[in-house]
Amino acid sequence: MSATKPAIFNEMLNGEQVRSAYQNLEKWYRSMPAELRSLKQSEAEALFRRVGITFAVYGEGGDPERLIPFDMFPRVMTAEEWRKLDRGVRQRAAALNAFLADVYDRREIIRAGKIPEHLVTNNEAFEKAAIGFRPPRGVFSHIVGVDLVRTGPDQFYVLEDNCRTPSGVSYMLQNREIMMRMFPQLFMESRIRPVDGYAGLLKKTLASVAPQKCQGEPNIVILTPGHFNSAYYEHSFLADLMGVELVEGQDLFVEGDFVWMKTTEGPKKVDVIYRRIDDAFIDPLCFRPDSMLGVPGLMSVYRSGGVTICSAPGAGVADDKAIYTFVPEMIRFYLGEEPILENVPTWQCAKPDDCKYVLENLSELVVKEVHGSGGYGMLVGPKSDKSTIESFAAKIRKNPDNYIAQPTLALSACPTFVEEGIAPRHVDLRPYCLVGETIELVPGGLTRVALTEGSLVVNSSQGGGVKDTWVLAE
């Protein structure tokens, strides 16, 4: 194993000592001959390809059905570590939803001066069309993906929140499935908490927010932009696991007080729509008039209580990078609690002092676009050359409101298979929190790993890979 810089927290090793959570895995790795490993690796790849779990990479050309690289070395959390994350993530999801219910209603957090009004109402993701409507149970964001990084034994930071339609949960489930299939022995030797309850929990969550007008078993559907979408596999996978229809906009229409789906037996009423389409596209009569993906009239039915849309239109304002800074404040304001998970210190380029600091320290910082995602449009200072930094500085000066900056954290590293054996690679974690009648999350999440040595960018669209994530039983 190659030497690790001392500043980086290695999740497996404590000095030369293997942490107890990883002892089984370390033995497993030692006892695995190289040939078996490469055999298993290609077996895993074949399995992924056979189930069709692929990922289209934006704008890169090449194979549209590329696989996200799967690293067989699992990432392990102890029961104790997980307890904290579990509480912290649920706390955050509760606060984010309280915030959404508030900013579309009485706006008390703004009146109380805790968040500047313009950051909310002038935000691209703030929907005028959502004002004055309380969705069932007051929940706006039913699936909250919280991106976490670790920098030390007890240091976890929230990197960002995803309140709209966080993707990747299918990888969490499939990674486990494939590991269990390839290495059943490992699962017999370690007590690993299962994640396969996710689909049932998701269905229960969606059913719990059915509109009041719905009587009996709610008809739940997943609304997908279609099979050309890069996350289509996930949409169909989740529909399959929950036993619900996967629909496109063209399968739905509104009439009277409800939304209907076109079936071989005629129209059938739809009660809950788990949509994987952005707000702008869901109803051409309310938002973008040129959208072909949505359902004309959907918002009228939604606002009159005929259907529930998950996540609720307008939920995106809570996961905006400019709002992110205020999440600890939200937790205190709405829940009267101290945040369990910390935010990464963030400089808002919109503030002149912050902007000045950022421009002076670009080579030390990570700079992101306020509305960006997927690792695009960002600058990783320490990994960038002078000319890249200079041209990025020009962009910040031109439109400071559009950028925030954070220190480059010493992300923890996990053992990851490389050519010569294993080596530490940086990882993050996205658990998926479900918010309906209750707030729950399955013990696990998606671990993304930056496969290139020293790289901090874990996004699958930027060549990151994934790992199975284990939470050990008590």
Binding site: S236, L246, D251, P267
Partner: protein, 317 residues
């Protein structure tokens, strides 16, 4: 079920069946090419094979030269040819991918596995591939998919829509295969029914894996009338026109029963079945085989259109 789901299942099944037919035609053509012709050279019936698939024109446009290698490429690998094995299996897989939720894991595995293997074949050097191997591979892949489908899919409406797709397509393909044999391959209409050209008859049977079925069902010498009976009217032979029509009638009846309402689709299908039940080989030859087949294909297409309107377009009027 979602109309669009039903539509994808229906087309998935049709494309699988179509891929199989293309492979069968390719095999017939390749075997034909091994037969000596009357003047001592080798027969060249490729043109007829392409005609049967309705792809002679685009082929000539692309390749100019009708030789076996080009035709193999065109019929098997070429994505410019919408009925090549590659195009059909890609389209079948694309349809399947969209309705993954309506398929069992073994069915998806079979379809997706076939597609992955096909891509492997695509990357393989052509000189290492025998045309008979390619055809056999296709038949095997299609049979694996259908086998997985038959043995694992829930017998719900999706099963019926897929079954309707398979049988409508198969009826059309069988009619086309007979037509090409009887009408296009034979140099003159005088030969029709003359009992000449035994080897071609054998090939027709072979292309439908029907030699054994023929021997089991009929005594004595191989005649055009017996073969026509087997391929058109014999309800025991699974590729015969009547068997196909009967089969989709059963699927349509299942739908009528589970939806508790019959539609125009059941009506046109049963009418066609009744007519086939009443038909005899003599009458068919009297009408003219080609004319009969053309009429059948158009009525079969009418069933397809009606199914599309009634069930697959989403909003019944």
């Amino acid at each position: 079920m979602l109309s669009r789901t039903a539509e994808h299942l229906y087309w998935m099944a049709r494309y699988i069946e179509r891929a199989e037919t293309t492979a069968r035609l390719l095999e017939v053509g390749a075997r034909n090419a091994l037969l000596p012709n009357a003047t001592g050279g080798y027969r060249n019936d490729w043109e007829a094979v392409l005609l049967a698939k309705g792809t002679l024109e685009p082929f000539v446009e692309k390749y100019t030269d009708i030789n076996q290698r080009n035709i193999e490429t065109w019929l098997f690998f070429d994505s410019d040819n919408p009925s090549s094995v590659y195009s059909c299996l890609s389209a079948a897989r694309e349809n399947a991918r969209v309705v993954r939720t309506a398929l069992t894991a073994p069915v998806w595995d079979a379809i997706n596995g076939a597609f992955q293997e096909l891509q492997q074949l695509h990357r393989t050097e052509r000189s290492k591939l025998m045309v008979t191997d390619l055809c056999e591979w296709t038949l095997r892949a299609c049979q694996l998919i259908r086998g997985a489908f038959t043995s694992t899919q829930l017998r719900n409406d999706g099963y019926d829509f897929s079954g309707i797709g398979t049988t409508i397509e198969r009826a059309d393909n069988t009619a086309r295969l007979i037509d090409v044999k009887y009408y296009v391959l034979l140099p003159s209409v005088n030969y029709v029914g003359s009992g000449l050209d035994q080897s071609q008859w054998a090939l027709l049977l072979q292309s439908m894996t029907a030699q054994r079925a023929f021997n089991w069902s009929y005594q004595g010498e191989v005649t055009a009338a017996k073969i026509a009976h087997l391929l058109i009217l014999n309800h025991r032979f699974p590729r015969s026109l009547r068997a196909c029509v009967q089969w989709y009638c059963e699927h349509l009846d299942n739908l009528a029963e589970s939806y508790q309402t019959a539609t125009a689709a059941q009506e046109v299908a049963h009418k066609l079945l009744d007519d086939l039940r009443a038909a005899t080989v003599e009458e068919i030859f009297e009408e003219g085989l080609h004319e009969f087949l053309a009429r059948f294909m158009s009525r079969n297409a009418e069933v397809a259109t009606t199914v599309q309107e009634v069930y697959l377009s989403g909003m019944p009027a």
